[in-house]
Symmetry: C2
């Protein structure tokens, strides 16, 4: 049965809005808010646990095909008024579809499948993180490892930029990238530290026919010294232009492209 909510003071609405705004609220509850017809349907179709669905009358007409699988998956559904929609939306162009999802259990790097992996250390920009996840999925990279102080993968901007890859791509977590790299090396991965240093090995010369962990660092400071030292090789994207370095997501895109370009180790391959 669908309940109706017209008050912005409704407890369920207020709790949902807090999830969009606060990483602490997400951490404490283990829940996050997902916005958009397509993204919410992605969550449902990927088997995410959906606690509640909020949708407007307009969305019911316009996004019926997307709403069907979400309604089946959701424990509770609420038809909401436009003022409630405004409170829940983080985008300028709300579609009037939102759901509160439960986070998947955090997987540690010990469970990483033996395929290519993108490891991100302390990536801070949600747009960069979401874009890197989207690219990893598109190129068939097997997993992503988030290490150090990366931004929250369940923030609205990451979810949106990832185009739902957050729900489908195997994501793993490690507190310390250097320590994780040591353990992954023992399991048979070889590791590359991406550095903006023209003296490092050009990534075009690396043979990616064996499972590789490609480590990419923070937007401003790059990888930590310890992470670079823990890697088997230091690789770089040869550049001729004047810009000091590429944007983190663009640089990750080129590196992942090189990892899979030859058709070596790919998730679906």
């Amino acid at each position: 049965m669908t309940e109706r909510i017209t008050s912005r003071k409704n407890d369920a609405v207020r709790a949902a809005a807090r999830l969009a705004q606060s990483a602490a609220a997400r951490r404490e509850s283990g829940l996050f808010l997902c916005e958009g017809a397509r993204l919410c349907a992605d969550a449902a179709l990927s088997g995410a646990a959906i606690e509640s669905l909020f949708f407007t009358e307009k969305a019911e007409e316009k996004y019926a095909a997307y709403l069907a699988p979400i309604e089946r998956a959701a424990k509770r559904a609420f038809l909401v008024s436009e003022p409630v929609e405004d409170l829940l939306s983080c985008t300028g162009a709300s579609q009037g579809v939102f759901c509160v999802c439960r986070m998947a259990e955090k997987r540690r790097e010990a469970e990483l499948p033996l395929t290519h992996c993108l490891a991100l250390e302390t990536l801070q920009d949600p747009g960069n993180l979401g874009t890197a996840l989207r690219t990893a999925e598109a190129l068939g990279i097997g997993s992503v490892l988030l290490a150090g102080e990366c931004c929250d993968v369940y923030s609205p901007k990451v979810l949106r930029a990832s185009m739902g890859a957050v729900f489908r791509l195997p994501i793993f977590f490690a507190e310390s990238l250097p320590e994780a790299l040591g353990r992954l090396s023992a399991r048979g991965f070889f590791s590359c530290a991406a550095v903006p240093d023209s003296a490092a090995e050009p990534v075009t010369r690396v043979d990616f026919s064996c499972p590789c962990v490609m480590a990419v660092g923070n937007e401003g400071n790059g990888l930590s010294r310890e992470a670079i030292d823990a890697c088997d090789r230091r690789v770089t994207i040869p550049m001729l232009g004047r810009a000091e370095s590429l944007n983190a997501a663009s640089s990750a895109a080129i590196l992942m492209w090189e990892m899979t370009r030859g058709g070596g180790v790919r998730r679906d391959g």
Copy 2:
């Protein structure tokens, strides 16, 4: 002589703030606002015409090295109070350095140098446009052609994401990409339309030893039918994953990387 401004109602301050907020104000005046010590110094060092510089006392201490070339280039300089800084800043983390610059004259595609060119048709997201410009510069792509209804290259988000590439990269404009492609073809360029179609030619098979125009389309809709038809070839980034396509800036990064990877036609080469 540096004047002091403490009032948010000061005419020069209000005009500068409008430039950050409104594309129409920029178009009408031919001016734009640039924020950040590094970006303003990039503008000065690239020979941009700087009408006025605004800086705070804190910035004067912290960013003295950046301020020196900006002060030399600027026609007028204003020391501003923190409330004025808040009015001018579009970022969460203002450095207290701003300058009003005059736009370079718009160059038409007839002047394009005969090197690799990235052509963007109706790219709408400022982050994507800025990132693509930054990548083009880093990889040594000779020029960028903006066609159709691209977002304003002088908006604060584009300037910031470009990391100053807006000031250094040769940027050209065309109203209609299909028509421009016809003229460029007559001048000796070959052209590729980037399409998310697995039946198109993999970009890895294209020989980029001759000057190429790589056409990339709008985030949601891709290239126009007419632009695709005007190109010599339809190329694609082979993908194995589930994501339908890459983000526009990531996809442009991989395409430009393939264009320059072999060391063929590069601006500085």
